[in-house]
């Protein structure tokens, strides 16, 4: 009884989920819970397992191990997916359908009246495009059509897989603005991205996925403060243990005959590094990509539970 009470406003519950493609392990024990109105960004480099996790939530993939519950039901059941809105990573529209027809169709498929389409088209700035064939839209417009189709049923959970990949900055900003309005109305959102900078604009909570495991979680600000934003690259004779001990070194990775050191304070790190290794060569400092940033993170900073949750679950994603 107490457990039911604690999960009453749980929209999505993922527990101990593993997923394999043949022999390759794509998800290695992921737990995640979303409550109503919460927005979680799933952050991870390419191949981290984001799409796999999203496809378990939207019912495209069966749960091989562990459990996925959407609004209390199994997302593999069509009826459960009435609570779900989906924006997929690469979706093409049939060349023969128009924007208005697509959104009206989505309304009817979700059991809504046809008239539900018009306000959503207006909300997303698509009214003027309603008569246009969807296959002939720009990337940003197509993503807005997908979002309109997802929102027309007023879902409890909206799942978006890298919805702004390939969009230019204005289109991106516009997309996040629309999403923010919906969040304000209480829709829970799970969105994947490989851009850490985006998470601050959209998420209450960031969950970092790498190699199929949750390696960090927390508020966007807390994570940004912890993840390295610069990579120092050099050829050096110093060993990894010595490098990891440098002031401000967050992560160390060997890359051929170079090392890549993630840091938030490249200046002080470099001073010591140059002093310790006079033979250092081929030095570069770059902005840290996400794969550099998540290297070295091995466990969540904060539990991946919604704030205020009373439910106890085990540590997440730690071997």
């Amino acid at each position: 009884m107490t457990q039911e009470k604690a999960t009453a406003d749980t929209v999505l519950e993922i527990r101990a989920v593993h997923h394999r493609y043949g022999r390759a392990l794509a998800l290695d024990g992921v737990d995640l819970r979303l409550v109503a109105g919460e927005c979680v960004a799933l952050l991870g480099p390419n191949g981290a397992g984001k799409t796999t996790l999203v496809n378990l939530v939207n019912g495209l993939l069966p749960a091989q191990a562990g459990r996925v519950r959407l609004a209390g039901g199994d997302p593999r059941d069509a009826a459960t997916r009435r609570h779900l809105g989906v924006v997929q990573q690469s979706l093409g529209f049939p060349d023969t359908l128009k924007v208005g027809e697509l959104v009206t169709g989505a309304a009817v498929r979700a059991g809504m009246p046809r008239a539900a389409a018009a306000p959503v088209l207006a909300e997303l700035g698509l009214t003027d495009l309603a008569g246009r064939r969807a296959a002939r839209l720009s990337g940003g417009q197509k993503q807005r059509v997908q979002l309109a189709m997802a929102l027309v049923s007023d879902p409890a959970l909206l799942v978006l897989d890298e919805p702004t990949a390939g969009l230019d900055v204005p289109a991106r900003r516009r997309f996040w603005q629309i999403l923010a309005q919906r969040r304000a109305r209480g829709t829970a959102v799970l969105v994947t991205t490989h851009l850490i900078a985006e998470t601050a604009a959209i998420a209450d909570r960031v969950v970092v996925l790498d190699h199929g495991r949750v390696v960090a979680a927390g508020s966007p600000a807390a994570l940004a403060a912890r993840l390295p934003d610069r990579t120092v690259i050099a050829r050096t004779s110093l060993g990894p243990a010595r490098l990891a001990g440098l002031p401000g070194a967050v992560s160390v990775r060997e890359d051929g005959d170079h090392v890549r050191i993630g840091t938030r304070a490249p200046e002080s790190l470099l001073r010591v590094l140059l002093a310790e290794d006079p033979e250092l060569s081929d030095l570069r400092v770059e902005g840290a990509g996400l794969s550099d940033a998540v290297v070295g993170l091995t466990e969540p900073t904060e539990p991946t539970e919604p704030t205020g949750s009373t439910e106890q679950t085990g540590k997440v994603g730690v071997r």
Partner: protein, 236 residues
């Protein structure tokens, strides 16, 4: 509620058919043109049954199957699969949307027969022939979709044509079996298309053909299972 959803799905499919006139041309104009030519040459009333079988077959084998393949190639089938619509409705819509198309082919052939003076059947017989052909097309639509779940758009089109054209010839849809080499006549009873044509022909002499109907029913069960297995193993 599912009726409304089916309605919307069928409407989308019909839009897809009507807004792509090139496909319409091949599937309607070609069989009807052939029929007009042959029936004006030979004036045989039962040619409506054999050419009608070919026309309905061309539509039912190709249209749903290629539609499924194209949706998969676009990623559009993933959008359907994550929606709240049961997959059966999406697939039923593809078959239902092919019906007006098939009926259109039959109507055009009937008109062509009337114009060339070879139409010699009562309205009842015409309706029965049409009913048999439209219902009997189901297993072929299922077979087409079984292919479309596995192959791409172009490959599906090639595979289904490679099934359609030899089946048509060997089942005597274009030329009577009597004038084909002997092996064709002995092969024909193994082809479902032959049984569909025979069932349609049987309507001209007052019905019958329960054996042919039975073969088609069995074929429907087999192709439905095939389509289900193919769907389950399809890549999205």
């Amino acid at each position: 509620m599912n009726v409304r959803v089916l309605g919307v799905e069928v409407l989308d499919e019909l839009r897809g058919i009507v807004r792509e006139p090139a496909a319409l041309f091949f599937a309607v104009v070609m069989p009807v043109g052939f029929f007009a030519l042959f029936s004006s040459l030979f004036g045989e009333p039962t040619m409506l049954a054999t050419f009608g079988t070919f026309g309905v077959l061309a539509v039912s084998l190709m249209s749903p199957g290629i539609g499924v393949a194209r949706d998969r190639e676009l990623g559009w089938s993933r959008a359907k699969r994550v929606s709240a619509v049961p997959v059966g409705i999406t697939l039923a819509a593809k078959v239902v949307a092919a019906l007006p198309y098939a009926v259109g082919v039959l109507l055009a052939m009937t008109v062509a027969a009337a114009l060339t003076g070879s139409l010699d059947a009562s309205a009842g017989v015409l309706l029965r022939v049409g009913g048999v052909l439209v219902l009997g097309a189901l297993p072929f639509a299922l077979l087409g979709m079984a292919v479309g779940f596995q192959a791409g758009t172009n490959a599906s089109s090639a595979i289904l044509n490679a099934i359609l054209l030899p089946s048509a010839v060997l089942s005597g849809l274009w030329m009577p079996l009597e004038i084909l080499p002997g092996f064709a006549a002995s092969l024909a009873p193994f082809l479902p298309t032959y049984h569909l044509a025979q069932l349609a022909l049987a309507q001209f002499d007052g019905g019958g053909g329960a054996g042919h109907a039975l073969v088609l029913a069995g074929m429907t069960a087999v192709t439905a299972a095939l389509a289900a297995v193919s769907y389950r193993h399809s890549r999205l």
